[in-house]
């Protein structure tokens, strides 16, 4: 009985690590897509600021009195387009986060349902190729927490950028990159390494 519970949990853990590996790849690619979008926002904000600093009626553009309003409209439309794409990327991140969260809570639930049949020795036992159940659960929960926190921080930043404050937008790329946590990402890569034999075994 203990053996079959262990087998079920192992299977669920394998699915979770597959999901985590997939998650990590897709998460990185979505974040990479956001970098040029942040640069666009900065660029458009700079153009808007320049327009605000200029008195059109004192320049050679004075023959086009409507140009200021029309240009401002186009710049704001362009910013909206970029923000829209960023929101779409944020939705992708949300869906990745949700999928991992679901996967991890399923396996934790399964573990909790079987605590009667699984003794301490079984869940802490590890071999050269198979880490212990408790270690694997801990690593999964750490990874899930990392993505949950990352999502909240990035969503909050996007919300602030959407407010249209030009001075804030001027350093959009820097602020976005400041949210990177290479340490946590390295830990997830490390985890996937540690469980690679386990995941590949059937």
């Amino acid at each position: 009985m203990s053996k079959s519970a262990l087998l079920t949990i192992h299977q669920a853990l394998r699915r979770s690590f597959h999901s985590l590996e997939n998650n990590q790849k897709l998460w990185k690619s979505v974040l990479a897509e956001c970098i040029p979008l942040m640069a666009s926002l900065e660029n458009l904000a700079e153009q808007s600021r320049a327009l605000s600093n200029v008195q059109i009626s004192n320049t050679p553009l004075k023959d086009f009195p409507e140009v200021e309003e029309l240009l401002r409209f186009k710049l704001s439309q362009a910013m909206d387009t970029v923000l829209c794409k960023l929101h779409e990327n944020m939705a992708s991140l949300q869906s990745l986060r949700d999928s991992l969260t679901n996967q991890v809570s399923t396996v934790v639930q399964l573990y909790e349902q079987n605590t009667d049949t699984l003794d301490l020795v079984t869940v802490t036992e590890r071999s050269a190729t198979i880490p212990s159940v408790v270690d694997m659960l801990e690593w999964l929960q750490d990874a899930e927490r990392h993505y949950r926190q990352q999502f909240v921080r990035r969503k909050t930043l996007l919300h602030a950028l959407s407010s249209g404050n030009l001075n804030f937008l001027a350093t959009a790329t820097k602020k976005w990159k400041e949210l990177d946590t290479p340490g946590a990402e390295d830990q997830i890569t490390d985890t996937l390494c540690k469980v690679s034999f386990f995941v590949e075994s059937s």
Partner: protein
């Protein structure tokens, strides 16, 4: 419009006469606008080079005629190279002027079709549409918007051409570049007008 609504993807066989002319005109409008966009991109690159050259040129002797390194390491254009870029930009603006001239000719041809329609069918125009629902006046109205937009934008481009190499103010230079890139005098409505013309003449189809 009374009567049955035509299926928007109905193929209209306008092989002769006014229908043919309008269909060809619509295709010409589309091609002219594509060429304009290409020239706009080309012009933006040249104008950016000119503005960047002006920004860096303060740190280099104004007497040099070739290219040199500025204090920040950017490639700096000397006087003759800068003049060359300005000539390239002038060339772009002249090509855009040629496009607007072609647009004027298309409009003249479309107005001619309105006159013909009035002659044939009276002041209300034809009762049975050539395509889905428009008569010749509708084409003139949509394309008129396009012509007005591009004529204004060309006027703006000429001012930008004249001023971009002489502007020392950083913010104003950026505004000039913004104006070139974003074409504030060509409203989004103008592109929609072109799409409407293409849809009407069956050269665009609605999905589904």
């Amino acid at each position: 419009m009374e009567g049955d609504v035509t299926n928007v993807n109905r193929k209209c066989s306008a092989v002769t006469g006014s229908g043919r002319k309008l269909k060809d005109n619509a295709a010409d409008w589309h091609n002219l606008m594509l060429r304009w966009e290409k020239l706009n991109d080309e012009g933006f690159t040249i104008a950016s080079n000119i503005v960047n050259a002006r920004r860096s040129s303060a740190s280099v002797s104004p007497l040099c005629s070739g290219e040199a390194e500025g204090s920040s390491g950017d490639l700096v254009l000397g006087n003759s190279a800068l003049r060359e870029e300005c000539e390239k930009l002038e060339d772009v603006v002249n090509k855009m002027a040629a496009i607007v001239a072609k647009m004027e000719r298309l409009m003249a041809s479309q107005r001619g079709l309105v006159d013909l329609e009035e002659f044939q069918f009276g002041p209300q125009g034809r009762k049975v549409p050539l395509f889905h629902g428009w008569n010749a006046k509708d084409f003139v109205s949509s394309c008129g918007l396009l012509l007005r937009s591009f004529t204004s934008e060309l006027r703006l481009k000429r001012v930008l051409l004249r001023e971009v190499a002489h502007c020392a103010d950083r913010d104003l230079s950026l505004v000039y570049l913004s104006c070139w890139l974003h074409q504030p005098l060509v409203p989004a409505r103008a592109r929609l007008a072109l799409e409407a013309v293409l849809l009407e003449t069956g050269q665009r189809h609605l999905p589904g």
